[in-house]
Amino acid sequence: MKHPIESFRDHFKDVVEEVQRFAVFVRAKEFQEQSIVKLEELLAECSQAKDKAIAEQSEDTANAYLAFEFMAKALVEEFRFYLALKADAPDSAWDHLVNAESSSAAAMKSHAVASHLDGYIQRLHALERLLFPQPVFFSSGFIVRESECSICGVEYGECTHVKGRPYMGKLCARIVKKAELQEVSVVSDPADKHCRALHYTDNGITRNVFTQRAVPDEDAEQSPPAYPEGRADAPSGSAEA
């Protein structure tokens, strides 16, 4: 008799294979929207199975379902990325692509059932490099005075849970409770790729860094030039450069 995880993996693979032929930019958007619906149903199945494993106190199984959840989320985000590009919404597309990358990485951290995602993640990174100019990223520095463990709520470091490891269907995180901002820097390789310049000002006109369209002042937050050295057309490049 097959282990429940193996049966679920087969089912997961079937659904993924069914939708993945639409995970290409040129596919019709109605098929991509239908794929999101199917993946959200799959995601709900993952969560239900995970809850059952948690109720049975089966940690390894719960962590495996957590990995499936993250994989399904990554694919949903990938489809939303294509749809946002088609809707001429590159800022939203960027966010979905970055979410797909981080969900895939979280899946790999969650359980060995997702240990094969290197190639998939490389592909997401390739899309990022090919489709977007190199963003200007920001990184903030904080002095952390109090933080707690997301698993048990005790001061982080005083319990036995390690940040980034899975525990009974949850990834451990360090929740910062009290911190002081020290500085904000421009970096090429940030921890959070959502933290980037959105607009720049050119001859008194504020423009979106991706579309270069003028942005009404009320929509634009104060932001430094996206291309401080005058690289207004940067067609390629990598956040990892």
Binding site: A106, L117, G141, I143, V176, S185, V187
Partner: protein
């Protein structure tokens, strides 16, 4: 390409005579510099004297007073891992004293400064290897799912047998280079010119 596609494996490291190694575009560098008198400094800052293995704040050698000290944000995780692996660590913070951490969100794993006492290096060198191995395993997990990113920064302070002199080995590079630190630490006072 599907979720089931196979990933690329990192290339094997190749060392050169100049100790510059490359792994997926990350250069490995070891820099050795003189460090302060650790015992005297601990006393000046009203800290416990470090011995064996200890984790030093990043500005241990420059802070004017104890309130200015800052640990790297990975310090609690490294402590957890040491506890998990039964690696004894002498805390420099006296009971009730808490040193805040600095968290910088650029993508490198900046590890806390590892102090290695003179006796430990002569009598129990495998403990340093074990500690570095634990750190390397953590770094591997940390960078899981983040292709092309595996930059680790670690300072190791090694004390001489008279506990008066100390040297800092600054490591900046990929995960695999961490294992070389044990050998370099063992030679730092006898073979300074070789690195």
């Amino acid at each position: 390409m599907s979720l089931a596609c196979m990933g690329l494996r990192p290339r094997k490291l190749r060392a050169t005579g100049q100790r510059r190694i490359r792994q997926e575009e990350i250069a490995m560098t070891f820099t050795i510099t003189d460090y302060c008198d650790v015992q005297a400094r601990a006393e000046d800052l009203n800290l416990n004297r470090p011995e064996g293995l200890a984790l030093l704040p990043r500005n241990f050698d420059t802070a004017a007073m104890r309130d200015e000290l800052l640990h790297e944000s990975a310090v609690q995780t490294v402590r957890l891992l040491f506890r998990e692996n039964e690696i004894p660590e002498r805390r420099v913070e006296p009971e009730g004293c808490k040193i805040p951490c600095i968290q910088e969100n650029e993508f490198a794993l900046i590890l806390p400064t590892l102090f290695v006492g003179s006796l430990l290096l002569s009598q129990n060198p495998h403990l340093l290897s074990l500690a570095l191995n634990v750190i390397a395993n953590y770094a591997t997990d940390f960078f899981k799912g983040l292709p092309g990113r595996n930059k680790v920064v670690l300072d190791v302070v090694v004390e001489d047998k008279n506990k008066k002199l100390s040297k800092k080995i600054h490591y900046d590079g990929g995960i695999d280079g961490l294992k070389e630190i044990t050998e370099i630490a063992g030679k730092v006072f006898t073979d300074e010119t070789s690195h």
